[in-house]
Symmetry: C3
Subunit: 204 residues, 3 copies
């Protein structure tokens, strides 16, 4: 429970930071920035909680999530001039959030006795949906459909988590390995500009 | 139950196919294609289940939905070069899904003892919402707001289903008639470029 | 309960009217207009009900909401030529809905024993989400991110409501004061083109 809760807060902070950076970049006013940060941080987990009828959704029961978001937003706003390479920072925090929330979502699916396939889908939804809403609201093409490996990293991470669980690896070790796998796949994919091939269609 | 379940799977396959075609057209990578296929196929039913608190939503309880989507996606990808007229195929599968999901949604509304007016709205939401999400994610204007008769066909179908139910017509016959009505209205509307009139406003 | 229910219907009518005006402006057909009116009117309250697991969502239990939306839509369509300054009318109805739905959402949060901070967020979601969906579907930049004070007015109203509740001010008086505060802040902000400052970022 302990490391699980800590990771959930950490993922929330990471996504709130990525949301704040995206919103500042779009020149929104302070409340607009906070709303984007909030939606990015809680969007994926909220959809997950609604889907499995885990209500009221976690951030409504526990104010620490809201405080974490407010703190991350204010901190990011204050140090924004220090962050020279905005898109790199945004990418980094987005990737950390992605790794952590893949675990959270998949693990909750397993705990609810959902089928592993559904748990993988739930992990992917938890990890990606906040960013998708952020991008739709900021009028960007959702990052999930951009060329770099993104959802694939989540799916690989979720599968790893389930395999390691079945091998009865220690939970904390499992979480750390899984997070690192998601983050590494994404870092390597972007670094070497890896992408999955797309399909060629014959136009009439 | 039998024909109902069969129709639900069939509608899922039809919408997964339409989502796959739309995503291939947008040159998404395989996971992007699967995500769009998945969201198109389960979007409407998931919103319906959330609205009436029918949880966990159907595809989380029954893996056949997920298998049907994966199967339809892979099959569509494999035969994509055979499908010469992409937009025609997309239109056709979208229309079949529309007809079937109108029945599913309206029927579930009736079974939950909702008022007929609410059941009609529920049928329309079930039938149209997957396509609306598909179009938003693919950055197209939602098909529901395009000129061809679309939501109107669902509403006509839902009303037919309710009237035939009250006339105590055999359920299977009712389902087949209703589906054919929705599909026919839409086919005729597109064939003859029928559209509802829009309102003229006086600009200042 | 009485004034609460009356305000909820009034807010529904105000948002249905603003949705109708936006949809006519986009030259949608009658069903498209109705769908936008419907989504604008019930979007915020539906998300609120889903978040706090208050199901089935209010408009499914009580047809008066649906009738209010249908009535407002038809009435607005009929008198559209009389409304010379479309954007002014849209702004006005949107602002009235905003004021009323801030109260409804915040009050429901308080009644559900949610923390005041969460109640404020719930009030803001109830008030703004319908308009956000309307703008996304109409392919406009969500009004919430435009330059005028918008979410800030909701938050100010929600805080006022909570303070006046704690001061044990008469409920009806409280509702009226709060609504007027939200509406006044927004009117003044637009009239004098007030806006919150945005952040300056140093580009590399």
């Amino acid at each position: 429970m302990d490391i699980f809760y800590g990771l959930d807060i950490l993922g929330t902070i990471a996504f709130a930071t990525s949301g704040t950076l995206a919103a500042i970049h779009k020149k929104l006013d302070p409340f607009g920035v906070f709303i984007i940060a909030f939606v990015t941080a809680i969007g994926g987990g909220t959809l997950r909680d609604i889907l499995i009828d885990r209500n009221p959704v976690s951030w409504m029961q526990d104010l620490n999530y809201v405080y974490a978001i407010i703190g991350a937003t204010i901190f990011t706003i204050l140090i924004r001039k220090k962050i020279d390479y905005l898109s790199t920072s945004l990418f980094l925090f987005d990737t950390i959030g992605l790794g952590i929330f893949t675990i959270i979502g998949t693990e909750i699916g397993i705990q609810q006795n959902l089928h592993p396939v559904i748990s993988i889908i739930l992990g992917t939804i938890t990890a990606t949906f906040g960013g998708v809403i952020r991008d739709i609201l900021c009028n960007e093409i959702p990052i999930i459909f951009k060329k770099e490996i993104y959802a694939s990293a989540c799916i690989a991470g979720a599968i790893t988590l389930i395999i390691l669980s079945n091998l009865e690896i220690d939970t904390n070790t499992n979480y750390i390995i899984t997070t690192l796998i998601v983050i590494s796949i994404r870092l390597i994919a972007v670094k070497f500009k890896l992408r999955l091939p797309t399909f060629i269609i014959e136009k009439k």
